[in-house]
């Protein structure tokens, strides 16, 4: 089960808002964890992130493996 950890701060709020539509999000101690049964897919356009923040979107760390991380899409699959 992949998890993506995101620091719960304003610059990542658009990503979390978008992820909230499709995934379970747990918030605790200043972080948000996005969890999926099979894959987490974040679309760049829908996430509303600019270049610098998009390419830094994994700074909070993750569990699983990166199946895709392009200019348009981030996919994290189970390990």
């Amino acid at each position: 089960m992949p998890r993506l950890f995101v620091l719960d701060v304003p610059e990542f709020a658009p990503l979390l808002r978008d992820a909230d539509k499709a995934y379970r999000i747990v918030r605790a101690h200043g972080y948000a964890a996005i969890a999926a049964n099979d894959e987490i897919v974040i679309e760049r356009n829908a996430s509303g992130l600019g270049d610098a923040v998009w390419y830094g979107a994994l700074t909070g760390g993750y569990e699983g493996r990166i199946a895709e991380f392009s200019a348009d899409r981030l996919r994290i699959a189970g390990a």
Binding site: F5, L7, A28, H29, G30, G61
Partner: protein, 194 residues
């Protein structure tokens, strides 16, 4: 055991130049920084120490940017004109306090023919980039939100993960290795274990 001594911000940073006239024109006349101090010296006694001038401009808030001009020496382009992202890593970033100020800097630089980058929104700062006549990369940046305790703790976790993953340049390690290790640490924080 004595307390750790404190630092109080940048007094000055210093760079070599082989274009003293263009440097003065850029920093004093285009950026409008006031000249604060200038030193001239007949070497420093040793044969291999060239005669030099050392001059300082006011960069605000008590800090200065300074240059050395070593008379009669060969220019060292590898020092003054870093290229590419890795070369640009060593740069100077000054603070703008408002969006209006950041915009005014762009306008002023462009009026004087300085090529200015697109504005880049980073995580917590927004920046413009340009170069001085020596080729030194410069940045003017606006902090778009204050850093708080959560940012600090997150940075500490990242730095711990970095040191554990890369040591001092473990070339087989990847950023994915580091992100997974960071994920373990953040997972522990979220469970209240750290």
């Amino acid at each position: 055991m004595s307390d750790t001594p404190a630092l109080h911000g940048v007094h000055h940073t210093a760079f070599p130049t082989w274009k003293p006239k263009s440097t003065v024109r850029f920093y004093r006349d285009i950026l409008g920084l006031k000249v604060r101090h200038a030193i001239t010296a007949k070497g420093w006694g040793q044969d291999n120490h060239p005669d030099f001038l050392h001059f300082f401009f006011d960069a605000g808030n008590g800090s200065m940017i300074a240059f050395f001009y070593y008379v009669g020496t060969e220019p060292r382009p590898e020092l003054t004109g870093p290229r590419g992202y890795v070369g640009m890593a060593r740069h100077t970033a000054w603070t703008a306090r408002t969006e209006t100020e950041l915009n005014a800097w762009r306008a002023r630089l462009e009026q004087h023919g300085v090529a200015v980058s697109e504005e880049i929104q980073h995580e917590t700062i927004r920046s413009i980039y340009f170069r001085d006549p020596n080729g030194y990369p410069l940045e003017i940046t606006l902090q778009t939100r204050p850093l708080d305790a959560a940012d600090v703790r997150d940075a500490e976790l990242t730095i711990d993960a970095m040191c554990e993953t890369f040591g001092d340049h473990e070339t087989k390690a990847t950023i994915e290795d580091m992100w997974r290790r960071k994920g373990d640490k953040v997972g522990a924080v979220m469970e209240g274990a750290r």
